[in-house]
Each structure stands twice: as structure tokens, then as C-alpha cells.
Symmetry: C2
């Protein structure tokens, strides 16, 4: 097959669905399978694969497993680790191991759970057994328009406190709204200070009732307007703005830093005020998109990369925001993993004693440090037991 973007497409990408077992509600797939393809493969039988990162049209299930990806619907359905039943891995030590299987209850140590999110540092994932869920009978999407982020945050708290578990609960601020409307256009009113996208799914009777309750709670918390998508076309339009938010920012800034951090849900109003204060102090424009239901924020710090001073201010603002999240009991990565970018920042969050256990765990699977070196864990020498194996010398252009 033709090489696309330097990567050869073909069977060596391991993109097959190996087995669909609806009786046991699971599927066995190869790691290169595109996330959305699995739901497409099982939709006709009434099932779906729940983890839905916004990248699901292009990201592979192997990638979702390695980063333990989230997505808008993880509020109700959980993150990737909650949907992986078994893994086959060729470890850095050269062993081929099988973890977990089709049954839910596990036996011995839960190595499957710890391998999800290991970002390739244990070895190569060669097979994945995932859960399939029964597709909900009905889905309803509501758009709440608010004057301020604070008011929208209060509506979020009220919905959660009422015991409603929306499938998704997304918030966008005024900067994002204007960028989207200048670009793709999703019908969000430009004068709103924040929009709240609420999606409910489940049995039809429940969805209708909870949609009414959610709309009433938005109005009681001062919503300027509440709109309910009447059909699939309107629903897709409301989601279109959210899913293309990051791209739309390109209309208002030459570059941006997309951050991914988490705070306990109760701290959302406080972190939003801190994000605004930090951006004002560093004179950078910040746009906000976030999974409000689970406290996962995505500030987009706008800057012009031709201006070194602005770049420096953007980076400083970014660091302060991450520190503020940790200070509020949160985490510096929500759903996008650690990689190289955030490896050093784990030291902000963990004590050296905690990190040392992670180094030791890595060595269990990859004693010589061959697998994705430099990823996931900080490499500085202060860690007494740090993973100090020399980085392997690889032929130029090798894909590691």
C-alpha cells in the first residue's frame, strides 16, 4: 500500500477486529484499529465502544490504551481503563505475556490495569480485549447559555447534586464561542459568556425526564436561554462546535498551548478564577473548553510564536496554571497522557518515594530501558533509584 505521511498502511498496522463476542459483550482487536471503527463494526448489533476521545476518528485503540484516554462521555462511562478486559504485550524483556481475559473478575495482580496508561514503557501491545456496551435507547442534547463561567459552573454543581449523571457535561467560554462562530459556526450566540453542553442517554423515559430536570436547573441558575436539540441534525451541530473548538482557535491566534489538567469538581469555579488572573498577569489570551462534569480543564493559551517574549509569557502562564491545579488537589494531566512534555512535571505531584516505586515498576517490564525511553517518568538524577539505563542508539528515522 502507499505510504501516507511516512507511515506504511497495511496489515503491519494491525488494524483488524479479531473477534466480536456480543454474548459476553466484548471484542478482541489489534492495537492499530481506529477507535470509531470498532463502534461502527458493532453498531448494527446495538453495541458501542464507550471511550470517545475527540480524536476518535483518527486515534487507534492501542493509543487510547497507552494513554488511558478519556473523552467527553467519560463522565458517565469512565475512561479507557474501565473498558479494557485483557491485553497481550511483548515486554521490553522480550516476553510475550497475556493479562486478563474476557471475564470481569481478575485473579492475581491486576497487571492489565497498570499496563493501561503505561505509554509504551512496558512494551508493545499486540492484542486488546475491550468491553462493548449496549447502545442507549435514546440520546438528548441540551445547550444552556449563561452570562458567565461562574453561573454555568453553578448549574453544573446543581445538576450533579440532583443525582443526574449526564453522559457528557461540557463547558466553553466566550473566547471559544466567538472563535467557533467565526469559523465553523455551531449556532452558539456570540454574546454568551459561557455555554454548557449537556448530553443525556439511556432509556427514553429517563432521558426525557432528566432532560427536563436539567433544563429547569439551568434556568434556576440564571441561564439566558436553554435549547434542546430536536433531531440528530441539531444534535450534531451542537457537538460540532465542541469537537472543533481547538481548530477554531487558529482563527484568533497563530499558535496556542493546549493544556490538559484536572481539579476536584468542587474546585472548578476557583480554578477558573485563577486561570483568568494568571492570564491577565502574563498578558496572554486564554480560551477555555472543559469537561466540567469531571473537573478536567483544557485552557488554550494563545500566543504568537514569532514573538519570543509572548512565547515566554505563555509558557510561564502554563506552568502557573498546572501548579494551581496541583495546589487544589488536582493533576497535571487529565486524559492526554504524560509523554515527554509532562514527564518532569510528575515531580510537582509525587514525592520522590512515590516516584521510585514507578521506576521500579517500569524495570519489571523493561529492565534495559528499551521501550519509549524518556517518556512518562522524569529522568533527573535526584531519584536515588532512577531508571538510569543508557538510552539505546537507534538507527536514524526508526519509529520508537
Amino acid at each position: 500500500m502507499a505510504p501516507i505521511g511516512g507511515v506504511m498502511l497495511g496489515t503491519n498496522r494491525m488494524t483488524r477486529v479479531l473477534e466480536i463476542d456480543v454474548t459476553n459483550r466484548c471484542a478482541v482487536v489489534e492495537p492499530g484499529l481506529i477507535n470509531l471503527w470498532l463502534t461502527r463494526a458493532v453498531a448494527a448489533r446495538g453495541y458501542f465502544f464507550a471511550p470517545d476521545p475527540s480524536s476518535q476518528m483518527v486515534s487507534s485503540i492501542g493509543g487510547n490504551v497507552s494513554t488511558n484516554a478519556g473523552g467527553p462521555h467519560c463522565l458517565k462511562y469512565g475512561i479507557t481503563t474501565n473498558h479494557v478486559l485483557g491485553l497481550e504485550i511483548v515486554t521490553g524483556s522480550g516476553d510475550r505475556i497475556r493479562l486478563g481475559g474476557k471475564v470481569w473478575d481478575r485473579h492475581g495482580y491486576d497487571l492489565t490495569g497498570v499496563a493501561v496508561g503505561a505509554e509504551g514503557t512496558f512494551g508493545l501491545v499486540t492484542g486488546i480485549t475491550v468491553r462493548l456496551l449496549h447502545a442507549p435507547e435514546a440520546v438528548k442534547t441540551i445547550l444552556g447559555l449563561f452570562a458567565t463561567i461562574d453561573a454555568a459552573s453553578e448549574a453544573v454543581s446543581a445538576i450533579i447534586a440532583a443525582g443526574i449523571v449526564p453522559a457528557a457535561l461540557e463547558m466553553l467560554d466566550d473566547v471559544v464561542i466567538r472563535a467557533i462562530e467565526a469559523g465553523v459556526g455551531a449556532g452558539y450566540p456570540r454574546e454568551a459568556g459561557a455555554v454548557l453542553l449537556i448530553e443525556l442517554d439511556g432509556p427514553r423515559a429517563e432521558v426525557e425526564m432528566e432532560a427536563e430536570r436539567s433544563a429547569a436547573l439551568c434556568r434556576a441558575r440564571g441561564a439566558l436561554d436553554v435549547r434542546v436539540a430536536r433531531d440528530e441534525t441539531e444534535r450534531a451541530l451542537l457537538w460540532k462546535g465542541r469537537k472543533e473548538a481547538a481548530g477554531a482557535i487558529g482563527r484568533i491566534a497563530p499558535s496556542f498551548l493546549l493544556q490538559d489538567a484536572v481539579v476536584p469538581r468542587s474546585k472548578l469555579p476557583q480554578i477558573m478564577r485563577e486561570v483568568q488572573a494568571i492570564s491577565a498577569r502574563h498578558r496572554v489570551l486564554v480560551a477555555n473548553v472543559f469537561h466540567a462534569g469531571d473537573g478536567n480543564l483544557h485552557p488554550l493559551i494563545c500566543y504568537d510564536d514569532r514573538d519570543p517574549d509572548e512565547l515566554a509569557r505563555a509558557k510561564a502562564a502554563n506552568d502557573e496554571m498546572l501548579r494551581a491545579c496541583i495546589a487544589l488537589g488536582g493533576s497535571v494531566t487529565g486524559e492526554h497522557g504524560v509523554g515527554v512534555d509532562k514527564a518532569e512535571s510528575l515531580e510537582l505531584q509525587y514525592a520522590e518515594v512515590d516516584l521510585n516505586f514507578m521506576y521500579r515498576l517500569r524495570r519489571v517490564f523493561d529492565p534495559a530501558g528499551l521501550m519509549n525511553p524518556g517518556k512518562l517518568l522524569p529522568s533527573h538524577p535526584a531519584c536515588g533509584e532512577a531508571f538510569r539505563a543508557p538510552r539505546p542508539v537507534l538507527p536514524e528515522g526508526a519509529w520508537v
Copy 2:
């Protein structure tokens, strides 16, 4: 405080709820807290702690964490690991480590997940952060009566295939029914070959609708009768039989071996036929209680311990049943852990290469083998990298 059963009650038991944080839907507890006490502590605010092993009136949350306990309601709510957000552990290496926290998304390796179910082999758990769930608006319990286990199993498949996710889906066979009715009495008709206990919870409208659908599916699969508990008293009575099933067996046999194994749900009818064939071959009476929804079976193998031949036959039947579960793609332990009893049987399920990774993982946390030696993993010498540290000599009566 007075010693009870040789154990001193008091603050050294670590039984406190340290924090209830309903905004973030979590609680921080000490490991000695009795499971049911947590739900009692938060019930007035409309919350509950989902893992509900049948032992929940006496078992501690620390014990639930160490065995990764399940319970009748894990079909809908998942097992203990799905409800633990953070742990504090004093490891075998003498380090005090903090894993996870209040936020859902994790960062770095998921050590919390792998420590749940470690059965004390990593160290002492000294603090636990758990999720709290909003109590459902309504609960409805249905009893389906069937002529045979096969017919009841078909009803289970039909309910699951219809996309209904009951909170619990329990099955009991004729031997258990008769034992219960001879003892505590739960109103199960003695002539039934099997009863199916179906519990639905959630918003009232949904519960009503799904109760009707479940009842209709039972009738369509040949149920002799379908009863719906009209109030909390009737509901408690239906559950009383299930919860006291193991005790009731004492009326029909001097001793029994209670097994805990799992097969993929689709294999339930097949394993039930094999269990019956095995018990006939070894001339032992077997009573069956199981979490039908998730394929977790609990055969109770009855014997008289004064008869060495019968004891030998009971043990042989037990071994054959476990092997049959593994042959069908299942596991030799569902929710009750491995301990000493099943440590050797891990070799039936895992290849040596897989087990070696478990030994190496254990050494990460407990390099000298001080913590719960002999538990969870087989100790035989064939494992090249086996955990061979000498067992520590402890003063007589020490509590390990």
C-alpha cells in the same frame, strides 16, 4: 475497650471515616471501617458505597480493598477496584506511599489499581479514598420461579440481550431453595428447580419499565411464576434467602466447601451441566448459588468431614470444577481472593512467564518477602525468578 473474639476493639483498629466530601463524591476512610458503616454514614445525604459483599455487615473496607471484593450488585456497579480513588500504603520496604487521590483521571502508572486486590502482599493499607454514588430514586426486586436451572439461565441471557442492566441478577438452585425454606424461610416455593432474583434500581420511571420488561422476559422463557416485591419488607424477605444461603446449607450437610469461580456469561448453562456431572461422578451433593449476571458461580460442595472418603471425593469434585471453569475461559476466583487456598491454582491459569511478572511486581513493594508470605502467588520452585525470600520468624500469636 473489651477484647472481642481475641481482637481488641479501639482506635488501633482504624475504623474511622476521616472525611466525607459529597461535592466530589468521595470519602476518606481508615481500613478497619466496616463496609456497611460507610453507607450508613452517608445515607442521610442520599449517597451509598457501592461494593456490597454479602459479608458487608462484618467485613472491613480494607479487607474489601485487599481482596478486590465483589458482591451481588457488582453486575451494575463494578467491583471494589472501580470504587477506590486513592490509597495510602506502608510498603514491605518500609516506605509510606500515597497512590491516586480524589480525582478520577490518573497520572503516571496506576499503582492504585494494582494495589487493590494485592491481599496485603505489598504492605499495610493505612488510608483509603473511595467513590460515593448517589442513591437511586427507586429499587424494585423481582423473583422468577423456574422448573430448571437451564430455563432460568435462558431468562438471564434474554434480560442481558435486551440491554437491561439489573443492579443484581442472582440465581439459586433447588438444593439451596429447600435448605433455605427448611431454615430461615424466604417464601421461595420448594417445588421450584431454580429461582432468579432480579433487582433493578435507578430513576423510578426507568425501574418500573424495566421491571415489567424483565418480568415479561421471564414469563416468555417459561417462568412458573413471577413475583414483584410490593414493599421494603417483601424485598428484604426475598434477599434474606439469598444472603443466608450459605448458612442454610448447614441444615443439610455437616460441612461444605464453598467455591468461587467465574466463566464468561455465555458459558453458564454449560458449566452448570458440568457441575452436575462432576457431582454425580464423585457422589457428592452440590448446592448452587450464583451471580448469574456476571458468570460468577458459587457451588457449595456438601460432605461429612467425619468420612475421609467423602472428604476426598469433595476435594476431587472441587478441583474438577475449577479446571472446568478455566477450560471454558474463566477464572478460579471471582471475588473472594486467592489467599493460601488458591495460590497454587494460579498455575492452572497463568503461564510461567505471566507469573514471573507477578513475582517481580511483588518484589517492587516488598523486596524481603515480609508481607503476607505464602499468599496470592504459588510458592513452588519451578518459577525461575520465584520469590524465595525466607519466611520471617514471628513471635507466637502475632497478627499478620
